[in-house]
Amino acid sequence: MTATMTASRAMRHSHRDDGGNLVATGRLTRFALRRDRVRIPVWAVSMAGLIGYFGLVIPIAYPDQAALQTRAAIMKDPAGAMMTGPGYGVENYTLGAMLANELLGMLAAAAALMSIFLVIRHTRAEEETGRTELIRANIVGRHAPLTAALIAVAIANAAVTALLMIALVGNGLEGVDSLAVAAGVGLVGLTFGSVAAVTAQLSEHARTASGMAGAVLGLAYVLRGVGDAQELGGSALSWLSPIGWAQQTRAFVDLRWWPLLLCVSLTVVLLVGAYLLAAGRDVGAGLVPARLGRANATAALVHPAGLTLRMERGSIIGWAVGLFVFAALTGSMGQGIVDSFESQPQFAEMFGALGGGDVLRRTLVTFLGTFAMAVAVYAVISVNRLRREEAEGRTGAVLATNMSRPHWLLSSLAVTALGSTVLLGVTGFGLGAGAGASIGEPSLAWDFTLTALAYLPVVLFFAGLAVLAYGLLRLGGWWVWLLLVGSILIGIYGPLLNLPDAVLDAEPFGLVAQVPGTEVDAVPLLWMSVAAVALFAAGTLAFRKRDLEA
């Protein structure tokens, strides 16, 4: 019996040894796709659904060419270009050109986010939890887990491309140009999946690795934003960004394919880099070795809020730097906005929906609203950290001491509130400082810092929703994201879609917007604050009454 066992081993040995570093990649790929069998379709369907929805609504909102041309005028404006795309074909704006100019960048960023999350989830996150070690102790090649993650992410992007293609063609758009848009989104996704494959090698921690890749994505969006704002059709800066490359195919206007080759080339370079980095390193290790810390906790750390702050510190700093850069760059276009408004007063009307104050301030407040949305995203992520704390048993360990549940929850919330305040302040300061520098009015920095803080109640309102969702754990957290993303989409695209005023007015970010230099309207701020506090209280109450998960 031993002899046959040995013989079968020997056969298997010779049979399985050949694949070398990639052995079991297929098996791991199938496993990754199985784990993501809901996640990937949800991303793809949501993105295609957005295109389908716009395809239905825009012909209603912009029934004729004249209406479309008013929209095209926004693209000629630096502020409009900054947020959307380079602005091709604005002389004869069509539905296709509109989607390619204004939605492609957003969709590409979404595909990039999806890819970053997927790659990190299947590489560094697995490594951090020790599961890679369990897998690699089997007959699995050194590069199999990374390769499987990349194949899975390629399949996910192919699915996104296919569904976008169907949605675009379903809207009656040209097939070839639709393919350029859809493939552009998928390729940007793949490019940032490769960025994540590199950052996954750098840090020992999944959160840091996603954070680094996310920062690269943010930078790419800003680069093309500034580049597009500088010049109609994009400038040199636009060409530094993979998102810019996808937009430079000029789909539905004057199609060219070669910018997509840049995405492909960068992907190849990044992947070579990722594999080189992965080849020589230990499982579980990052390229930056962990430092030693202090032996004794400081007085600040032993307070629960101090501990939470320590856990959140890196993330707050990362967000602050990203938002500051983005805001300062946006603000620095202030002079350009003023110039274009002076030459073409009709833009002022479009951006001046808020009334009162001068054109520049009103326009910048519109941007501030967008930044406040990003801060709200931070706040919800920050609250949702509690879920992981609980699932991994740390909350149970803390609550087993003489720490009460409300105390624990409110300490954590205090950190979220502090982080949100800092982020809003930094964003407002960056926007005001950038604008102030461009028009020679330094006092704008302080004006906008204060104005930005007016968004704190609405940010805390969304944090409150997340707290309530945490208290009512069984309901899941998806509805908070639904409300937040819904508010963001209405806030950004609502005016474009000619949604009813009642809907636009109910959108929380528009509700609290204040224009610096005008009288403060405290009523909505007050109501929003009351709502946030009520949500905190309800969430805390629900948390007190439920079972702990782990």
Partner: protein
């Protein structure tokens, strides 16, 4: 026959921390080898090097005569690994996790899986999220034990198992030994090592301090004696080689070096022994001897 595992002068640092410092470890085919050391001694680091997950900084490491860093995949054909802390994917069942691991090593003997599930009393239909630490550990153990391999690498495999399950585990290891498999068992549970292992290697601060068969290690150490005499047994205290003497009611307890045992017995006999219990040193005592204080290191054994 050549050694299954042969580690010489293995060193590994993480940044400025020296985890392994010229460590030696040898396993002959068919032996169950205990790998003992306090927390942080470098047991898991050594095992990860043996699996080709970490790259050795210096020294020679061979598993089945090959370099595990270069030949990890081929070597993993021939070994199975169980870590001390098993983390599983939350949304799959225990049975699915076992099959997944099995599929990574080219198939599974279903009847063997069923048999092990029954012996370890594990419900394979539950989601891994709901498993306790012990149950997650069972998943990894069953996946490893059900595989047809020559070497089992077990890193504190019973942490989290209850005493009954530990007995099942010991049975399985004995069966593996009968089947001619080699086992590296890193452990804190000394009774387990005593009852299972042919040889033991003790490490401390990344260095091998002692290695040998249990009999050899015992030979170098002491016997614990508990005695009740008509006279005063405490008078043995004056003999050389008698240590740690103390009184507990009528009883006198002491440790005696093995070569001083005849003299101690000679002293006790005339005192009228009413009861005497002598026990070989437990591994706890070996541990205390080696790790209780730094000065004790260097006593006996195959020093390296």
């Amino acid at each position: 026959m050549s050694a299954v595992i042969d580690v010489r002068q293995l060193s590994k640092s993480f940044g400025s921390v020296r985890a392994l410092d010229e460590l030696d470890l040898t396993l002959e085919p068919g032996e169950v080898h205990g790998f003992l050391g306090p927390n942080g001694a470098g047991k898991s680091t050594t095992i990860r090097v043996l699996l080709g997950l970490l790259r050795a900084d210096a020294g020679d490491v061979s598993v089945f005569g090959q370099d595990p860093w270069q030949k990890a995949v081929g070597l993993h054909n021939r070994l199975a690994y169980v870590p001390g802390d098993v983390n599983l994917w939350p949304k799959i069942t225990g049975g699915e996790a076992i099959d997944f691991f099995a599929s990574l090593r080219g198939g599974l003997d279903r009847s063997r899986k069923d048999e092990l599930l029954q012996r370890f009393d594990l419900d394979p239909t539950k989601k891994t999220r709901s498993y306790s630490k012990g149950n997650r550990q069972k998943v990894a153990l069953i996946a490893a034990l059900a595989s047809d391999v020559e070497l089992l690498v077990l890193d504190e495999p019973t942490s989290g198992l209850d005493p009954l399950m530990e007995l099942v585990f010991q049975e399985c290891i004995r069966e593996a030994k009968l089947a001619g498999r080699t086992v590296l068992l890193s452990s804190h549970i000394l009774a387990e090592v005593e009852s299972l292992c042919d040889k033991v290697t003790i490490i401390r601060q990344g260095r091998t301090v002692q290695t040998g068969t249990l009999a050899e290690l015992r030979h170098l150490h002491r016997t614990s004696v508990v005695v009740v005499c008509d006279g005063d047994a405490a008078s043995v205290e004056s003999l050389p080689g008698v240590h740690d003497i103390r009184r507990d009611g009528d009883r006198v307890l002491f440790n005696v070096d093995d070569d001083a045992l005849p003299a101690a017995m000679g002293r006790l006999l005339p005192l009228g022994i009413r009861s005497l219990v002598s026990t070989p040193p437990t591994l706890e005592e070996l541990f205390v001897h080696h790790y209780g204080n730094g000065a004790a290191v260097g006593a006996g054994g195959e020093q390296s």
